[in-house]
């Protein structure tokens, strides 16, 4: 009789629960016809300012809403409410990322059918959000000109897992001697083929292009589904 330890194959994804819920959310978003975009970046790279611009510009023609994640305070939601009526803050307490369950809970009483775009601003963090699918269609990763252009090399996982990179604070590029070519090269190194947008939320530079890209992505997803 074998008395040694037995090996039982399991092959189970650790974040299976999150992945399953994210898949349900994605199905729900598609059925409702709402295009969901998430934003990830380090703290202070301008996610909220960028989102404020996106919401106010898009709301001229589209029905928009946002969920915004932070460890504490409702400040970002208050700021964004100036640009869109439907904004909800998710305060995570000590948790450094959003997960599918938090998104699901936050959307509880929302009528998704009445929306065209839903934005999810993740907690400012370039590490932890990379492991959690939120059910979004598009993930944008932001990098500001005030950060080092080697950020993509330092955080390859989050850049690799995103769909579009957005370089923010372009109005400060000259002042910070931002190495634009180097930053673009670094993004391509860790995520070959990624589309890169350059914006300034302050001057509005690049925002029209950004809107056009989002509309095109939304159209493409509607053809597919």
């Amino acid at each position: 009789m074998n008395t040694g330890p037995r090996l039982i194959e399991v092959r189970a994804k650790v974040l299976k629960q999150n992945d399953l819920l994210a898949r349900e959310l994605r199905d729900r978003f598609r059925r409702s016809g709402v295009y969901v975009v998430s934003l990830v970046s380090s703290p202070g790279s301008g996610k909220t300012a960028f989102l404020e611009q996106l919401l106010s510009r898009l709301s001229a023609t589209r029905r928009v809403a946002a969920l915004v994640g932070d460890l504490a305070t409702e400040n970002d939601a208050a700021r964004l409410k100036r640009a869109a009526s439907q904004v909800r803050q998710i305060t995570t307490g000590t948790i450094c990322h959003l997960d599918a369950q938090m998104v699901d809970k936050a959307l509880d009483d929302w009528q998704l059918e009445e929306l065209d775009f839903l934005f999810i601003e993740n907690v400012g963090n370039l590490v932890c959000p990379s492991s959690y699918d939120l059910g979004e269609e598009l993930r944008m990763v932001l990098l500001s000109t005030t950060e080092g252009e080697d950020k993509p090399l330092k955080y390859p996982t989050i850049f690799n897992g995103a769909d579009i990179a957005v370089i923010t604070k372009m109005d400060l590029a000259a002042a910070t001697e931002f190495d634009r070519a180097g930053a673009r090269q670094n993004i391509q190194t860790v995520r070959p083929g990624m589309q890169i947008l350059e914006v300034s939320s302050k001057t509005g530079q690049g925002m029209s292009e950004c809107l056009a890209v989002l509309e095109a992505c939304r159209d493409a997803s509607r053809v597919l589904s």
Binding site: L7, L15, V127, S131, N160, T189, P192
Partner: protein, 115 residues
């Protein structure tokens, strides 16, 4: 650090797995961890012990197998292993590779149980 959240999910999952099989006495948990999973090996190992406290997994061991990056090179029409996650291109022809075949794993591969 999100490794503690991940360790807690993992422990819950192993408990479910064990219960669905009629109660296993788990001694070793074999985990596959991709280099592009976004999870730090040491932080996870540390968190695992904390997550096990108060459960029957206390005293079990976490064995982490690191899974290197494997990509598909469109130029060579072959699977390739880039030397680092900071340079995701073909080590032979240097074509940037978009298709990642392995390296994102975060999965419990097997449980070693007392006979």
């Amino acid at each position: 650090m999100h490794e503690l959240s991940i360790a807690v999910s993992m422990v819950e999952q192993i408990i479910d797995e064990s219960e669905s099989r009629g109660g296993l006495q788990v001694e070793v948990v074999h985990l596959k961890l991709g280099v592009l999973s976004g999870v730090d090996k040491d932080a996870l190992a540390f968190s695992y012990e904390i997550a096990c406290e108060g459960t029957f997994l206390v005293g079990s061991r976490l064995q982490i197998e690191s899974i290197p990056l494997l990509v598909y090179c469109e130029t060579c029409k072959a699977e390739r292993s880039p030397g680092s996650i900071h340079q995701i291109d073909c080590p032979q022809c240097h074509t940037p590779c978009q298709q990642i075949l392995r390296g994102r794993e975060l999965e419990v591969a097997a449980l070693e149980v007392a006979a």
